[in-house]
Symmetry: C2
Subunit: 340 residues, 2 copies
């Protein structure tokens, strides 16, 4: 299996990318295709004694600027490490693509270079977030700020397939992010999506309020990309704040106290660490595309590559296409019954 | 000063309400008008040895059911402790109203019984949330799920007035909750509101991403009621999860370890405790209405009453009306210039 990796995406590129790739080659039985400036990659590898065995480099002179308009990935950015990686994936030169670059550009490129699956209206970045009990996928976490109800149903279908196949959750529980438990709550988007989700054939358990998200009582949290992005970033922000505060509590004499709970502290940290999960799958694309966190380190890159491998092995794209077809059939059938 | 308090709002009514009122009378130099079932109040006070000195009871036979449709506060719910309290406030029988009952009903009742301030389009529940540095008001936190840009500007005006007058922050920094820092980010609501906020005369510092909210780098976070409610509840939910995890870390042998950091742990807990702030002010109403948290204890009720008192003392309603007038004038002026 060949995983294409953008060597110049994220804050810690290319060093941490290279380290992650080296480990992936040695532990995951994959080959890597790295896109990026060849000389820079080789010099970084040499300087840091990173082996490039099993790693092929495709030279690209440029890097996609994080502040650039996403649509430029198709135009002025077409020679960047991200755009070239996506093109290689589309051309069958690899099985999946991992990048820690601009989410917007990656979504745009995945949509127009790798292309959407048949019947899928929008690509949705879908990170798996840690919770008190297990974890859940949040979809859409930022791409589609304005959604129609049927798009939310597709996100639910894709998230459900992902949790089942890639994360190994049987019959994943799907919930709609909303401001109350009752089905009449929320905007028209939510009340309409609620009705469609009830008929979708998914394991839909109703609305979930944001305060219950961290408990982990469902496996798929569905929402539009604006709300999803707010939720995702607040999740991260609260996590950072508490991480910072725990460090402060355990500083000075607190260090001694921490020793009494060191096992629990480590366990909790590991449980809440996004790096453990890998990245955010861009669901709805013909081939797996993984967005790694912007400040990924080598562990996060390694896990993102592992995640990409799992997506290939489980043929998540094919599964989503079938799920989407089935849901479309159910919808048609319901419409037919409704009209008679 | 007379603060009207709904004796039967919230999960811990009437006991915790009564305790909070008793303390408020003794420490805050206020009188209390309690609305609710007189016999039940008196028997609860007697049983728990709570003094009713300085507390007047206005008997109301019913309690507004939290699951009832909010609009029923005007109809079938008009004899409830909440509706009667709002009516007393509207009639000048008290200076402010505190209730831990249904937010929806309280917003509806505040809007149609106490009535909105001149020029204010919507009432916005606006809780003050704890942050790493200080605190900030989130407005709207749940009432208006669909907003127009000019409504967000009014929320900003009201939040700014509140932070300045009631919370004592000089020239409060106002930010728009959005999915990116650039002014082109977000939905049409955000891009249009951004332009208006820039011209508002407020201390507008631009967009804030959700991950930066807990840092406390601004004093007013403006958003629509749907997004605000998601953010508020996730804030609470993450807080609960971390609270639970800290308890777990400090259980068993961890108790010994906790002793080394006990001062810091207590300080952090207090900093993050919503009970310390009081409740959520319903901004835009002619007279102060405070929504206390549904599971408020006596400390939270005491603080909500203190907050109500501060709202009266600073004439926050009058100030908001003047601010709103001024902003409307600026808008008109800008329109005039734009048209010439």
């Amino acid at each position: 299996m060949k995983i294409i990796v953008d060597a110049f995406g994220g804050d810690n590129a290319p060093l941490e990318v290279l380290k992650g790739c080296e480990r992936a080659v040695s532990e995951l039985d994959v080959n890597i295709v790295l896109t990026g400036h060849e000389k820079k990659i080789k010099s970084c590898a040499k300087k840091n004694e990173i082996s490039l065995d099993g790693i092929e480099i495709v030279h690209t002179p440029e890097v996609f600027d994080i502040h650039e308009e996403p649509k430029e990935i198709m135009k002025s950015g077409k020679n960047t490490s991200m755009a070239v990686g996506l093109k290689l994936l589309a051309d069958g030169k690899g099985d999946a693509f991992v990048s820690a670059g601009s989410t917007g550009a990656l979504v745009m490129g995945a949509t127009f270079i790798v292309k959407r699956l048949k019947g899928i209206k929008r690509v949705a970045p879908s990170p798996v977030l840690p919770a008190d009990k297990g974890s859940f996928v949040l979809t859409d976490a930022g791409a589609n700020t304005e959604c129609r109800p049927e798009m939310l149903v597709q996100f639910a279908v894709m998230g459900s397939a992902y949790m089942e196949k890639v994360m190994g959750v049987k019959n994943p529980k799907v919930a709609l992010l909303n401001i109350g438990a009752e089905e009449t709550k929320g905007r028209e988007l939510e009340t309409e999506a609620y009705k469609l989700l009830e008929k979708s054939g998914l394991n839909f358990i109703g609305n979930i309020e944001a305060r219950d998200m961290p408990k982990g009582e469902c496996h798929v949290v569905v929402t539009d990309g604006f709300t999803g992005n707010i939720a995702l970033k607040l999740y991260e922000g609260m996590g950072s704040l508490f991480g910072k505060k725990m460090k402060w509590i355990y500083s000075g004499i607190g260090k001694v106290g921490a020793m009494f709970s060191i096992g629990k502290i480590k366990k909790f940290r590991k449980q809440m660490d996004y790096k453990e999960v890998g990245g955010s799958a861009l669901l709805g694309v013909k081939k797996p595309v993984i967005k790694a966190h912007g400040n990924s380190d080598s562990i996060a890159f390694f896990n993102a590559i592992r995640q990409a491998k799992k997506c290939v092995e489980t043929d998540i794209s094919g599964v989503i296409e079938k799920y989407a077809e089935k849901t479309a059939e159910i919808s048609k059938e319901l419409n037919r019954i409704g009209q008679n």
